[in-house]
């Protein structure tokens, strides 16, 4: 099989970037993209720089962008890439500084990972010397997917919030954070949730789902972020604008069935900040686009919607458990910690 690849080459010394075309004439049909990169490096051009180690999707070194989409080179069949006679374009992953060719600087990713303290916090009720804390597999279900992460950076490569806001913690660090918050041995979940609710944390995720789409291990980082949000609610950590926004949807569903759209701005931003949105409101009002809060746009048959919220609040699927049950599509998993319902922070309506 003949394979042609276009690879973006860049030289940090000169700052020059160009596309280079490589051709391999005798490639096995079952070859991966990584096999091809290695052959190019060994047989044709020793200056081509890329990372690789395990060759089997475990080390997380070889993520690149292939025609724009991030994937592991070692898990990409090159025959499939060539379908339709295309010449695939191979470029480095995004949202990290470039070092050379297909190699990027991973340090910003590690920094964010360190900032979420990716280890269990010390606790006073640790088992004594020579003993261990036994955790049943069922208790680890809530963090099973997140534990599969191989730190490849595919999720941050295209994360839309990160692209426009480089300080955003991002899908990799946040799914690590859930790995800890969701661990039954972790004592400091409240403090962690407070920290994760800061400006560039949980609530800056824009739900583009590019991380879920790209992750080669099925971690589904966006879902991990939703679990953090849900657990923040269960723990009463709901002061952030993002949390207030989310809470208003719950209040709306319970009280009128549909979103109480006209009040959303005030409920999210508070009265003081909302004043700055008056020009926008007037613009919408002039177009008939600002629905008035009264009379309320109410759904029919509202009582069950109200009752449902009460009913589920009294069951053991609060917080992240409500997500875990669906994601495993298994209602029977034994779920972690059932905290007491928090005191509400503010009157909802």
């Amino acid at each position: 099989m003949q394979v042609r690849l276009q690879i973006r080459r860049s030289d940090p010394a000169t700052g020059e970037t160009r596309l280079q075309l490589y051709q391999l004439d005798h490639v096995r049909p079952a070859a991966t993209l990584l096999d091809c990169l290695e052959e190019i490096k060994e047989e044709q051009d020793g200056t081509l720089a890329f990372r690789r180690s395990c060759r089997e999707g475990i080390c997380g070194s070889c993520a690149v962008r292939i025609d724009g989409r991030t994937a592991l080179a070692c898990r990409t069949s090159v025959a499939e890439l060539l379908a339709g006679g295309r010449i695939p374009l191979i470029t480095p992953i995004g949202n990290l500084p470039l070092i050379r060719d297909l190699v990027v600087e991973m340090e910003p990713m590690w920094q964010k990972m360190r900032s979420v303290q990716p280890f269990l916090s010390p606790t006073s009720d640790s088992p004594g010397e020579g003993r261990e804390t036994v955790v049943s597999p069922a208790l680890l279900e809530a963090v099973h997917k997140e534990a599969l992460c191989i730190n490849c950076g595919a999720c941050i490569s295209e994360c839309d919030a990160l692209t426009v806001s480089p300080e955003f913690l991002g899908p990799h660090a946040l799914s690590k954070a859930w790995r800890l918050v969701g661990d039954p041995r972790e004592p400091a979940t409240g403090r962690r949730l407070q920290e994760l609710s800061r400006e560039h944390g949980i609530w800056e995720c824009t739900r583009c789902y590019l991380c879920n789409e790209r992750c080669p291990k099925g971690v589904d980082p966006r879902d991990a972020i939703a679990k953090l949000g849900a657990e923040a609610f269960a723990a009463g950590v709901t002061r952030d604008r993002g949390a207030r926004h989310a809470r208003w949807f719950v209040t709306s569903a319970r009280t009128t069935g549909w979103l109480r759209e006209s009040e959303l701005v005030v409920k999210t931003l508070g009265v003081a900040v909302s004043v700055t949105k008056i020009p926008l409101a007037l613009r919408l009002f002039r177009r008939g686009k600002a629905p008035l809060p009264l009379p309320r746009h109410k759904a029919k048959g509202l009582e069950p919607a109200r009752a449902l919220q009460r009913i589920v609040a009294g069951q053991d699927r609060r917080g992240a458990r409500g997500i875990v049950q669906g994601e495993r599509v298994l209602a029977r998993i034994e779920l972690v910690r059932v905290p007491e319902p928090p005191e509400p922070e503010a009157e909802d309506f």
Partner: protein
């Protein structure tokens, strides 16, 4: 006439009422009888899925059950976000044990139960292929005169693809197909599958507006005269907040944005008054003038 359960979601009953009215005006032409679901609520919008995910699942189960009880096997949505949330719930409720638990709660709450099997689809999916597309081609008699239209997909009709699965999430073609069928010329630009910023528009305005500015700028640079989107939430960002994006960018944009139903209805010769185009914040005057037919309202 194909009977489908019509779930219009929150916004089409509120700030995006023009989407509801144009969809209703369009449906008979497409051979669709819309049976509007009553006794339903918000799908959760991704917000209830975060704040109280178990509640969100139950709300969606109830929407699915209302369709089932009305004897309909398909729910038609006109919103990316509703589509994702309903499909996600429908998939999860395929699990008998989870469904049994949810149904028990639905009964206790006085709602009807759900036995599974309702399909959730978006208007775009119905008309971008097969029979729906043939029908669209038949009804699009008032061609859009080569109007250069930028398709905006946004996120949640494409991703996560394992829940959506209609087309390649990175190289979608459905909106382009529809634009062409309507006699328009699709304009290509990179940000058409990226985020409009809507979910964090209020919570993280700066980040959100930076996202919003990209498709608008790129579409204009690629020569678009208008944009079309399949999602009323994207529409709210792209249209109503466009002025804010302009302020953040420090330059004028002025790109008119159609709802999917409006664009098709225009091509199908639906009475313009039913499309309520005057409700848009960015005026559509330039586009309507170009279409050289007496379409302008008022």
């Amino acid at each position: 006439m194909r009977r489908v359960a019509y779930y219009k979601g929150c916004l089409a009953g509120l700030s995006a009422r023009e989407l509801d009215s144009s969809t209703r005006a369009l449906a008979p032409k497409l051979g669709l009888e819309l049976v509007e679901l009553e006794n339903v609520t918000c799908c959760g919008a991704g917000d209830i899925q975060t704040a109280d995910p178990d509640y969100a699942l139950h709300l969606n189960a109830r929407i699915l059950s209302e369709a089932e009880q009305a004897g309909l096997d398909t729910i038609l949505t006109i919103c990316n976000v509703c589509t994702l949330n309903l499909r996600q719930a429908a998939l999860q409720l395929g699990d008998a044990e989870l469904r049994a638990r949810v149904n028990e709660n639905l009964s206790r709450a006085g709602a009807r139960t759900y036995s599974g099997g309702v399909e959730v689809t978006h208007l775009l999916w119905l008309i971008a292929r097969g029979e729906g597309l043939s029908r669209l081609k038949e009804i699009a008699v008032k061609k859009l005169d080569g109007l250069r239209v930028a398709p905006f997909y946004g996120c949640q009709l494409l991703r996560p693809s394992k829940l959506m699965g209609f087309e390649d999430p990175d190289r979608p073609t459905s909106l382009e197909t529809v634009i062409e069928a309507c006699g328009g010329e699709p304009v290509d630009y990179p940000a058409k599958t990226l985020c409009c910023g809507f979910p964090i528009l209020l919570a993280r305005e700066k980040t959100s507006l930076a996202e919003l500015a990209r498709p608008l700028e790129q579409a204009l640079a690629a020569g678009a005269e208008a944009m079309v989107t399949s999602c009323p939430l994207c529409h709210l960002s792209l249209d109503a907040w466009q002025r804010n994006a302009e302020r953040a960018l420090g330059r004028k944009l002025g790109l008119p944005v159609f709802h999917l139903s409006q664009l098709i209805a225009l091509a199908a010769g639906v009475e313009p008054a039913q499309l309520q185009l005057s409700r848009h914040v960015v005026p559509l005057g330039s586009v309507l003038a170009k279409l050289s037919s007496p379409l302008v309202e008022e």
